[in-house]
Symmetry: C2
Subunit: 428 residues, 2 copies
Amino acid sequence: MGTATRTSIQRVVVIGAGFAGLATTRHLSNKPVEVTLVDQHNFHTFQPLLYQVATAGLEPADVAYPVRTIFGRAPNVRFRHGRVTRIDVEAREIILADADRLSYDLLVMASGATTNYYGVPGAPEHALPLYTLSDARRLRNSVLACLEAAESRPEDFDDGAPTFVVVGAGPTGVEMAGALVELIDVAVRRDRVRIDSQHTRVVLLESTDSVLGAFVPEAQRYATESLRARAVEVRLSSVVSEVTESGVRLTSGEHIGASMVVWAAGVTVNSPLADSLGASRASGGRLDVRPDLSLEGHPDIFVVGDAAAVPTGGESPRPCPQLAPVAIQSGAHAARQILHRLAGEATEPFTYHDKGIMATIGRRAAVTQLRRGPVLRGTAGWLAWLGLHLVYLVGFRNRIVVLVNWAWRYLDWPSGPRLILADVERDD
Amino acid sequence: MGTATRTSIQRVVVIGAGFAGLATTRHLSNKPVEVTLVDQHNFHTFQPLLYQVATAGLEPADVAYPVRTIFGRAPNVRFRHGRVTRIDVEAREIILADADRLSYDLLVMASGATTNYYGVPGAPEHALPLYTLSDARRLRNSVLACLEAAESRPEDFDDGAPTFVVVGAGPTGVEMAGALVELIDVAVRRDRVRIDSQHTRVVLLESTDSVLGAFVPEAQRYATESLRARAVEVRLSSVVSEVTESGVRLTSGEHIGASMVVWAAGVTVNSPLADSLGASRASGGRLDVRPDLSLEGHPDIFVVGDAAAVPTGGESPRPCPQLAPVAIQSGAHAARQILHRLAGEATEPFTYHDKGIMATIGRRAAVTQLRRGPVLRGTAGWLAWLGLHLVYLVGFRNRIVVLVNWAWRYLDWPSGPRLILADVERDD
């Protein structure tokens, strides 16, 4: 950073290179501000496709994109690789894990969320979450290693075959359960993993009385039926009270033996980083924000994406759901307010433009619920889902590679990257 | 395995899914034997391109291919995922890390080699090898993290910029040094990593008086000149006596500060597994074999690939070099001898068909030394190298993906998968 220009050029620090932080940074590219984007990873993760990495349909590099490549041509953007541990709101500085400090005039906090275990004993130790790329890689290694073990040492498993339990039937849980069934099918038919596929189970546990809580009943029914037709055991009103090495226990007292437990029950914002802002919190630990997405009492700080209780801007008193479109729109909004601020203009309240929600169950089966218009399902829903995800994928190269991979998978060629790579450390 | 057929059908166990083990298994596919291929990884690694993974040009999945996918259609081949710890030659059993035992009638040992540190103090702790896919992934993370650190904390580096030292100027070392220079160039020009590229060094240390020892002097000169033209500091007759956290010390007493030391000095066969055969050893710990590649005193055991001192079959008293073509040819030979044995025929001695050797220095620069004919270099050498490696790549999908990646890199699109993924465990 040029020291001579410090007094005139505003320094914007963006924490987090997820959908929200990326949207903010994109909208500030080539604008008269000095942007520093900070992330503990040098890549952006396309989170909606993590379940595909977890089930060996896509490679990590298909859903991750180096931040530097995205902003390589924007002269006013720089990337700082590092983990932010604390924000000093008085000094207007962020503090990194390596003790470096970065000063800001304006801060955009887009640090995302982490897995919410809801205090369930054993869940952090024995269940595998699916929020980060590391999570997805760890899950994949576990699933594939479990199938290998089921062939070579079936005596180690109850009923001689593995049981996979997925906790939480939101989009992540539904997609994971659907993709697990497909992976097992490919492993047995294609790779001839000699397991007892009759006794291999995928169980989807949901605490409420329906899957895909945010969807309309028609979509929920379709999803439930599709999952059951694919032999996923969908169990509603099933609340997990404990996760152990050998499975999960429900509040009813029932114990379900499991070789692997996937935790897709939800996320929370409870990091020391969020705490260091000293702001009030909404449900899920999300930071309360003003209608323009700035922090109460700190007009120089905006909070966007999963970390914020983003107001809808409509009549609903409930904040927006923690979805990619909300992150993208709120991130862009913060950037626009920063430009308003620089121009001496008043900031504007955020309004969420809900274009619809979607979830996929598997090959040729998805539900796309547009805000206006019909619920698309089956092949139509799946094609809508496919198109939208390809459009949103960050890099041109990734889009092509993912498309090739999908085409391959779809045409059923025996070529998925079903590699068990060595251990992955937790890094969230 | 059907118990009824045990007495008639011969059980062949192949240890290792590298080039050698894969060649053996392929030649025994759909033959009247029962083959079990055992490997601690569920994939085959295309080792000649590991340096590309280490320098972020290719993804792990581009150079790895699931074993089950390769043999999914061969009814007489099964895969066992597991690490072999010992061979009980008397009982004709291999013992796995999980204590399972597999019986064999005929055994093919294709377990490869490991990095040879030649007893240099500090090398195993501080230098990074490049023999397995995990090695390559670890190297890539280190290089990229080092470049990030050089931007954000240049004060942590001597001269304010990183120095990369590569030990050993065989093909692996030459390719690694050349690719490192290209990666640094892409990082600076493309990703705008703000490092002092004038002071960023790549040093290639070689203990003998020439690079690419197995090549003719013309090829060696070309490689040395190409490397130097690309700003690689080629230092010949430089023997490393110690590796420390801060760099390498030479036998001359000189200390070269290094942010990262790549160990490409050679391999050895010194595993407890090889020891358990109780056979005599040639240079590099390789197992001595008879002309037909069986073990002296154990006609039921064949040793192939890097693990064996494979005789050339010609006049040379020295065994074949540890190269992919030797592994492939020796693996296939063992399979043919097994079929001879089953047919009641005598076994034949192995003869190595040397078609040439090649090494690449970078974009449009490689040397291809054919056994007969001229030394190809520059673009011609590079195209020969490219074509041959594509032909040898195991899977059709991988071949296409690698080709797309290469085309992209070559056309200089800013899209390489320069991701720093979380820690990788050593697994060799």
